[in-house]
Amino acid sequence: MTEATDAIAISGLVKTFGHTRALDGLDLTVRTGEVHGFLGPNGAGKSTTIRVLLGLLRADSGSTRVLGGDPWQDAVSLHRRLAYVPGDVELWPNLTGGEAIDLLARLRGGIDEKRRAELTERFDLDPTKKGRSYSKGNRQKVALIAALSSRVDLLLLDEPTAGLDPLMEVVFQEEIARARADGVTVLLSSHILAQVEKLCDRVSIIRLGKVVQSGTLSELRHLTRTTIEAETAAPTESVEGLGRLPGVHDLRFENDRVRFAVDGEHLEETVRRLADLGVRSLVSHPPTLEELMLRHYGTHPPAEPDATSVGAGAADTASGNGAGR
């Protein structure tokens, strides 16, 4: 996995705090030039992973390479080539935002003055205010401007837009797209699924200190269920038969429309059978990232046994996979 083209290559990473096993054999590969989404609930180990990548924490075991170097041994030289935005930026109460931006960027090894001015303008930050008077969102902006106006190869962003308003969120997304166009690799830990769907080439999902799923969004979608809504010419009784097919779940009727979820691997077979019933109209929803996440964290409503949800009285509104677009 540790090819020269990988900006980040982690395998079997373990980090414990006392009795807590924060990272439990984590594997993660981020290819050079990609925007990689890092998803997981609070406490799953996202921040711990990023802090190991920064050499702020020392790994107990496993191998970790960042830009071809060891994050603990080569911390300072690596840090000149990367920029980091923590999820909870703390500033110095008696330094202004402008001073903090300069401080962080200069210590990293220089600042692109044009970008600094442009970003300050775009993020609408007043750089003359003292750190203690900034709101949470403004503190995030300071760290974002410092990171984005440095010339680096890698951006490590740990929930960077917490506290930003939707307008600033748009600015952030445009700036990340621009960084990617410039060839910068980005590891983006986030809770905002729309942000990840929009920006990320590949996604890794972490749970209890392990990466449980990794791939492009379409690869991940293939692993999960597509929701299908159709109106058929055939009578209800024959449509009910679909519910007995392998991989079909939650079959329900809404008036004269049928609605069900189907596993990615059985999609082709199911659609063929559906076509035989005389399709009048057809809507399919790919699984949203939200559904994907929920499946991995086990809070998704459990799939009912295939046949039992089919019934003549199933006119009441289906509720199961209501997350369609």
Binding site: V76, H79, L82, P86, E90, N94, L95, E99, D102, K129
Partner: protein, 563 residues
């Protein structure tokens, strides 16, 4: 939303009385809450003030056992320096143990109780606003004036309780000259001073949006009040019954008013009324000002700072110096003032200290030299203790930056841990030595002026510099703890505490010699009374360097403690 916004038109027009009650809605709950939050703090303040007073009062009998001792104390105190450090000369006309206590203590403990009042008011008003908690509370059923009223009431309740405790303890102790009404007046004089400065804080919290600036301004008023009374009292003449050309200065100071009750001598109540009137006026001004500003804002708009960093800020030492400069300047001024205070009395040392057995005994241990030189050697201990307090605060800044989450962003840049920590530790090393040198220089200059001996400047400055290695050891111990036992880094406070307890009181309290030897300050040559000894100075410097190296080594290999 502004605090001055009128009530919505749909509400029935309130009568005047209703609206006043409405602006105070919730005060009682807030006050109970404030007192509950402060319960430990207040017990500590009360214990400190009462025990300090009782211990002073109880010590007089031993220190001044007969009329001769008392007479020589009166003579030595009657000079300008003695009066500046104590209070008006009128007390000397009837110097019982009780009036001695009032003379020596009211100025000092008045400052302390004023400090308590200022911190209480700012904590429950401006600090609540600055942290944003106020916004949450004010959105509930809470009147516009409730928070300020609760803050003032918390300060009033605390200072009244402390005043009554002081009175009760004096009645219980019943030293010579004590009367019940005098004891009550003694206690309530403290309460009155506290109320004035609670009122001052009620004004300053309206002016600025920042707690530290608000308490700083109010504390500056406390300092000014003390300085005015010291300047005024110093001109008093015992032979004239206390009259003097500059005594009017003392009448500008609320602390001066409290002292001019002449408690246990004349027992005048009316100066305390001045305190109450001023306190009420200041509080009223605070209320008026508070209606002219928004919640969370100050009357003075927050000043903008530099939009760009200076070149020095990107250097670890420059950055640490910038972040710590307020602390360093404050301590340098503090040590210098302490030096000025000791230096100004150096001329009267013979008279003042010659008869105090305790001090004589410890001076005798220093041997040789003149009494003035022995005095300098002795007062350098409290001076170096204050510098050591700074050394600990400045060193522990490394830890504060780490746990405060600010180090995280910095250490993700091209700044290494060692350079980052070394910047702060270098400020601690140089700053502590510089603060002590400032104190030594001022002590030397004021002493030289008092004695007319210019040679004292150099010798006192040199003597203070000899403490540098002990201060560096203090920084070294802090660095070692930060590197290897970060959660125990508060243990570094043992250094200044040890410096004072073992160095100043060690000989008197008969501590075993091995314990006294533990403190690096014990090994500093006691210049100018004793000869310079290079060995301990060099050994301490080498030890400090070793501790710093070890500490940085530990910091390099451990996990950072992050939020």
């Amino acid at each position: 939303m502004t605090a001055t916004r009128p009530a919505p038109a749909t509400e029935p027009a309130p009568t005047h009385g209703d609206s006043l009650a409405a602006t105070l809605a919730g005060t009682g709950i807030l006050l109970r809450f404030a007192l509950r939050r402060d319960r430990v703090r207040m017990v500590v303040w009360a214990l400190g003030l009462v025990l300090g007073t009782v211990m002073s009062a109880a010590s007089f009998e031993g220190a001044y056992p007969d009329e001769a001792a008392r007479q020589s104390l009166i003579e030595s105190t009657a000079g300008p320096a003695g009066l500046a450090l104590t209070g008006p000369a009128e007390y000397l006309t009837d110097y019982t143990y009780a009036s001695m206590l009032a003379h020596q203590m009211i100025g000092f403990s008045g400052v302390l109780i004023a400090l308590m009042a200022v911190l209480t008011v700012t904590r429950h008003s401006r600090n609540e606003e600055e942290t944003g908690r106020s916004e949450l509370l004010r959105a509930g059923v809470l009147g516009r004036h409730a928070q300020l009223t609760a803050a003032l009431a918390a300060a009033a309740v605390s200072s009244l309780l402390i005043g009554l405790l002081l009175a009760l303890s004096l009645i219980g102790l019943d030293i010579e000259g004590t009367t019940t009404s005098g004891a009550l007046m003694y206690g309530l004089a403290h309460t009155a001073v506290a109320l004035v400065f609670a009122g001052a804080a009620a004004v300053t919290v309206q002016l600025t949006a920042h707690t530290r600036a608000a308490s700083g301004m109010a504390l500056a008023a406390v300092g000014a009040a003390y300085a005015l009374r010291a300047a005024g009292d110093a001109t008093g003449d015992l032979a004239e019954g206390g009259a003097g050309g500059g005594v009017w200065l003392s009448w500008l100071s609320p602390i001066g008013w409290a002292q001019r009750t002449f408690v246990f001598v004349d027992d005048r109540w009316w100066p305390l009324l001045l305190c109450l009137v001023l306190a009420g006026g200041l509080a009223a001004l605070g209320y008026v000002l508070s209606t002219h500003r928004d919640v969370g804002a100050g009357l003075w708009a927050a000043r903008g700072g530099r939009p760009r960093a200076s070149g020095a800020l990107a250097h670890p030492f420059g950055m640490a110096l910038r972040l710590q400069r307020g602390l360093l300047i404050g301590f340098a001024i503090g040590v210098a003032l302490l030096g000025a205070m000791y230096g100004s009395v150096i001329g009267e040392v013979e008279g003042m200290l010659g008869d105090v057995d305790v001090i004589q005994e410890s001076l005798a241990q220093l041997g040789g030299a003149t009494l003035a030189e022995s005095f300098v050697s002795m007062v350098l201990i409290p001076l170096s203790t204050v510098a050591a307090v700074y050394a600990v605060l400045a060193s522990l800044r490394v830890r504060a930056e780490e746990t405060g989450g600010r180090a995280e962003s910095l250490l993700a840049t091209g700044l290494s841990r060692v350079r980052w920590a070394a910047g702060h530790l270098a400020v601690a090393l140089l700053g502590s030595a510089a603060a002590l040198a400032a104190g030594g220089l001022v002590l030397g200059v004021t002493g030289a002026l008092a004695l007319g001996d210019g040679g004292l400047v150099g010798s006192v400055l040199g003597a203070s510099l000899a403490y540098g290695p002990a201060l560096w050891m203090t920084v070294g111990v802090a660095a070692l703890l930060i590197g290897w036992a970060p959660r125990a880094s508060v243990v570094a406070w043992a250094m200044p505490v040890g410096a004072f307890v073992l160095g100043y009181l060690g000989g008197l309290l008969d501590f075993p010699q091995w314990l006294i030897n533990l403190s690096p300050f014990t090994h500093v040559p006691r210049l100018p009374a004793q000869e310079m000894a290079w060995t301990p100075v060099l050994v301490l410097t080498a030890l400090a360097a070793g501790l710093l190296w070890l500490g940085l080594l530990g910091l390099r290999r451990r996990d950072l403690e992050l939020k």
